[in-house]
């Protein structure tokens, strides 16, 4: 039988762990709300950008040479942009994203493509470094203060890399936020850009100033930046959702453990009392002689 002091100590340590997990759950819930709000606020802008872009791109193809960011080529060199988190303790969040990216990596290599990685978040960097992937760039610490500026930095890097080093395709791998308890890994083609199909009757022939090409030169990178920002927000919301769920189950596991230990403690205490009584009675009997 474990002694009373040990059990008491364990109950104390489980209780303080539970306090931490409960606090982390609350923090994650608050951050999740913030991230969700940011997604909602970005939505009209992202949608309009895509619409405007599509209306220009749909027409640019006919008259002018296709823009490099729109041109479709055989994917010989592929960049996978993997969005993970800087911090752990978020359930299967990082594991599932890394697994999905890894699987895609093997698929692409089997098809004969050369695969490079741009990793966002410390966890993904560790994973792919261990597996000796070709990481062209890693971004860490951008989740501490996620703004359009640092999303823009990632976006600009992707566009530069795409145009300068002859990439043929670029995919975003991130956790899409479904709800606080469910996230889904998506692999989304980012480049070349796929314009929305616009129905004929809605297609207005715009006057383009200065020219379609000049507009596309500005619109396409902007679109990439917006998409990256959106994916980052989705990923942040998913991360906090996953952490919230993980911390919730950790808190209730701690509760179960405390119950079990308390029972054990009471039993041990009872046993100790009984033994003591037996000793006293035994002693008294012996004295009677």
């Amino acid at each position: 039988m474990a002694n009373l002091k040990d059990i008491r100590k364990r109950i104390g340590s489980v209780k303080s762990t539970q306090k931490i997990t409960r606090a982390m759950k609350l923090v994650a819930a608050a951050r999740l709300r913030k991230a969700q709000q940011a997604i909602t606020e970005l939505r009209p802008y992202a949608l309009k950008t895509h619409e405007v872009l599509s209306s220009v791109a749909a027409r640019a193809g006919e008259s002018e040479e296709v823009h490099p960011l729109l041109a479709r080529r055989l994917p010989k060199r592929v960049l996978l942009v993997v969005l993970t988190s800087d911090r752990g303790l978020a359930g299967a969040f990082n594991a599932s994203i890394c697994k999905a990216a890894h699987t895609r990596w093997q698929e692409l290599e089997a098809e004969g493509s050369e695969v490079h990685f741009a990793v966002i978040g410390r966890k993904g960097r560790e994973y792919f470094k261990r597996r000796e992937a070709s990481i062209t760039r890693d971004f860490t610490g951008i989740f501490e203060d996620l703004t359009t500026e640092n999303a823009g930095e990632v976006g600009r890097y992707i566009v530069d890399e795409y145009t300068a080093s002859g990439l043929d395709a670029c995919y975003l791998v991130y956790n899409e936020f479904k709800s606080a308890i469910s996230q889904q890994v998506v692999i989304e083609p980012l480049l070349p850009i796929t314009p929305l199909a616009i129905p004929e009757e809605q297609a207005v022939d715009f006057i383009y100033e200065p020219s379609k090409r000049a507009l596309l030169d500005r619109l396409l990178p902007m679109y990439v930046e917006v998409e990256v920002y959106r994916a980052l927000l989705e990923s942040v919301a998913s991360e906090h959702g996953a952490r919230m769920t993980a911390m919730d189950s950790a808190t209730s596991n701690a509760e179960d453990m405390i119950d079990k230990l308390t029972l054990q403690y009471n039993r041990a205490r009872q046993a100790a009392i009984t033994t003591e009584l037996m000793e006293i009675i035994g002693g008294a009997e012996a004295l009677k002689g």
């Binding site: 009209p44 802008y45 992202a46 309009k48 405007v52 507009l215 917006v226």
Partner: protein
């Protein structure tokens, strides 16, 4: 069909849909100069530069500073996509003066090379500060 006498004006930034209004006319700063939009304008798509957006609602003139982006103008609708937006009450004249001076000093220090990312960043900051000061000046003159 009755001719529309109002436009639907929307300004969207990555943070939110900042402005929705129904003005009778709109003036927008584009890369090829300022241009006005009245109802029944021909469909036009152009790039915005940092500058002052002006619009009239029921005879009252409104002003706001906008950053670079895009504008889609049509017969019924004007849509601005921009990364920055500020109304005159949000603009702090002293802070923007300081910002403008700092950005210009940086530009001067960088000298002739007008291509590096630092130069682009500094000139972006200078343009945005200038646009806000301009908007404030126009708003005060009203």
């Amino acid at each position: 069909m009755a001719l529309p006498d109002r436009l639907q004006l929307e300004v969207a930034t990555p943070k939110e849909l900042v402005l929705e209004a129904a003005p009778t006319s709109v003036t927008v700063p584009s890369v090829s100069g300022e241009f006005g939009v009245l109802p029944l304008h021909l469909p036009l798509l152009t790039a915005l530069k940092a500058g002052v957006l002006q619009y009239n609602v029921d005879g009252k003139k409104h002003v706001a500073a906008v950053g670079p982006g895009f504008v889609e103008a049509g017969p019924e609708k004007v849509l601005l996509l921009t990364d920055q937006y500020a109304t005159p009450d949000e603009i702090d004249a002293d802070a923007e003066q300081a910002e403008l001076a700092a950005a210009e000093a940086e530009l001067k220090a960088l000298g002739g090379s007008q291509t590096g990312s630092e130069w682009i960043e500094a000139s972006r900051r200078a343009d945005w500060a200038r646009a806000q000061l301009q908007a404030l000046a126009i708003a005060r003159a009203l």
